[in-house]
């Protein structure tokens, strides 16, 4: 099993417990780190789910995201059916599929130094996981900031178990600032300074919002601000990823 096959197999068994998965994980540090991250996110989500139901706003956001994804999948599916039924597909069908796949970031124009296949071993591969990971992170943070009792419990946990601190940090979602800046500098050097400035600003925003929640754990607006700060950072990565996929 190689990295790509492992990545595909995680859709069925995400904890990497199957024999062939374990064999690959023993020899691949990057995949091991990825599986560890996914397991941590999954376990954190279970903990949060057990605490209390998230707010209607969180469910609403999830519903909107799912509907958008469903619409895009339907578009791809309808194009695939049209393609299958035709003996010789028209150029229009190929064209529409290409546009859909390009918008999904699944294909790129050919580059001499890069493979078209997504690979976990490539340095920018984390970006493939950034959007779903960021979504999971935001949901987790949304639940976190909604429930002050849980927030207080987490604050205690963070003090006693430093490893838990990563749960509330963007690093757990693979949102690495250095990777982002390096990729932006390679793809669009002129934008690097702007992204660096905005990264600095949004990190300050997150730190201030965290501090405000700690100081005012019963202030719902403070918790909302923390969620919004994370949303801003997720948006920054989203914009950067769009820019690097012409």
């Amino acid at each position: 099993m190689n990295c790509v096959e492992l990545q595909e197999s995680l859709a069925e068994i995400e904890d990497g417990s199957r024999a062939d998965q374990r064999a690959h994980l023993k020899t691949c540090a990057e995949c091991s780190a990825l599986v560890a991250d996914l397991n941590l996110i999954a376990s954190s989500a279970i903990d949060l789910r057990e605490a209390e139901e998230p707010s209607p706003r969180v469910w609403n956001s999830i519903e909107i995201a799912v509907r958008q994804l469903e619409a895009e999948l339907n578009l791809i599916a309808s194009s695939a059916i049209e393609l299958r039924e035709a003996e010789e597909p028209s150029p229009r069908v190929w064209n529409s599929i290409e546009i859909a796949l390009r918008q999904e970031g699944l294909i790129r124009p050919p580059r001499s130094s890069r493979s078209l296949l997504p690979s976990l071993s490539s340095r920018w591969a984390w970006a493939r996981w950034m959007v779903p990971a960021a979504a999971v992170l935001l949901i987790a943070v949304g639940v976190y900031v909604r429930q002050h009792s849980l927030a207080q419990q987490l604050a205690t946990d963070l003090a006693t178990h430093p490893a838990s601190a990563a749960v509330s940090d963007v690093a757990i979602a693979g949102l690495n600032d250095d990777d982002l800046l390096q990729e932006v500098s390679e793809q669009t050097p002129a934008m690097k300074a702007q992204y660096a400035d905005n990264l600095r600003s949004v990190n300050e925003y997150i730190q201030d919002a965290k501090g405000n929640v700690d100081a005012n754990p019963n202030d719902e607006e403070a918790r909302r601000s923390l969620l919004e700060a994370y949303q801003e950072k997720a948006m920054l990565f989203e914009l950067a990823m769009d820019r690097t996929q012409p």
Partner: protein, 289 residues
């Protein structure tokens, strides 16, 4: 003919030739699509502007100006959905990959526009509008009864005369200006950009303007009815309008950094929340002109 005159003629001829070459490099393309009601139209243009206006009938018309042969326009229609993509070819740059679009869509069409650097403009529509741009200038006006979602990195965002809308604007550092924007939900989140609101906050909506370090300024007329909460962690808060104070608040109101109160008729009012960390907040009365 003097030597200086000859030089001027030669330089003029060269400039003329270069201009002609530039003009020749431009390619105009036009696409037409017949669609039904509530069609979906998506334009993804990495470099260049997109301007969208309403069409007369159920037709989507795309006028594209391509600035080199390093970029193509891919178009497709699947059912009631039209998708346009600027297809960058190897070696394309921000200049050579530029395409400017003028798009006409049925007024009830849902619109999704994406550009990194060009301006994004949409007007006189009542379908949902989603605009995303990094450094793009966003200008949206005369939109009614629709969802309006905007995301930018540092491009300025201006929304004018958006009525009965569900408006969400996220900007990292771009200035956000809302003029006569009302609806059930109007939400702006900015990290370092300023937020300016000019209008009356409608009559029953929720208005949330939040910035980390950008200033927030709301200018409202006397007739405004709203429950207003404003607070800044480290910035100053100013209020030029006398508010009826509220006795019950969810947080401690510190003079100079927060205020809570009702303006106008409390029975018919919107909820307005203005929050910042280090930016200033200013609620001011609009002066009659």
């Amino acid at each position: 003919m003097s030597g200086r005159t000859i030089k001027l003629v030669v330089v003029g001829a060269m400039v003329g030739a270069m201009s002609a070459g530039t003009l020749l490099a431009e390619t105009h393309k036009e696409f037409h699509f017949n669609v039904g009601t509530k069609a979906g139209v998506s334009v993804n243009n990495p470099y260049g502007s997109i301007s969208v206006k309403p069409s007369a009938g159920n037709t989507v018309t795309i006028n594209a100006v391509l600035y080199s042969d390093k970029v193509e326009v891919d178009s497709s229609q699947t059912g009631n959905r039209v998708e346009i993509q600027s297809h960058l070819l190897p070696g394309a740059t921000a200049e050579s990959g530029r395409v400017d679009y003028e798009v006409l869509v049925p007024a009830d069409a849902s619109l999704t526009l994406h550009s990194n650097t060009g301006s994004l403009h949409a007007e006189k529509l009542h379908g949902d509008v989603t605009l995303e741009g990094a450094a793009s200038t966003v200008d949206i006006r005369d939109i009614t009864s629709a969802h309006v979602h905007v995301k930018t990195l540092n491009g300025p965002v201006t929304l004018t005369n958006v009525q009965d809308g569900h408006v969400e604007v996220d900007s990292l550092s771009g200035e956000v200006t809302l003029i006569r924007v009302t609806g059930p939900l109007v939400q702006v989140i900015s990290t370092s950009g300023g937020i300016n609101y000019t209008g009356d906050f409608g009559d029953s909506g929720e208005y949330r303007l939040t910035s980390h370090s950008g200033n927030i300024e709301a200018t409202v007329p006397d007739s405004t009815s709203a429950d207003v909460t404003a607070s800044s962690v480290r910035g100053e808060v100013h209020d030029d309008i006398p508010l009826q104070p509220k006795t019950h608040t969810s947080f401690i109101v510190r003079q100079g950094s927060a205020f809570v109160g009702t303006m106008g008729r409390a029975a018919v009012s919107s909820t307005v929340v203005l929050r910042s960390f280090s930016g200033k907040i200013h609620l001011r009365k609009r002066t009659a002109k």
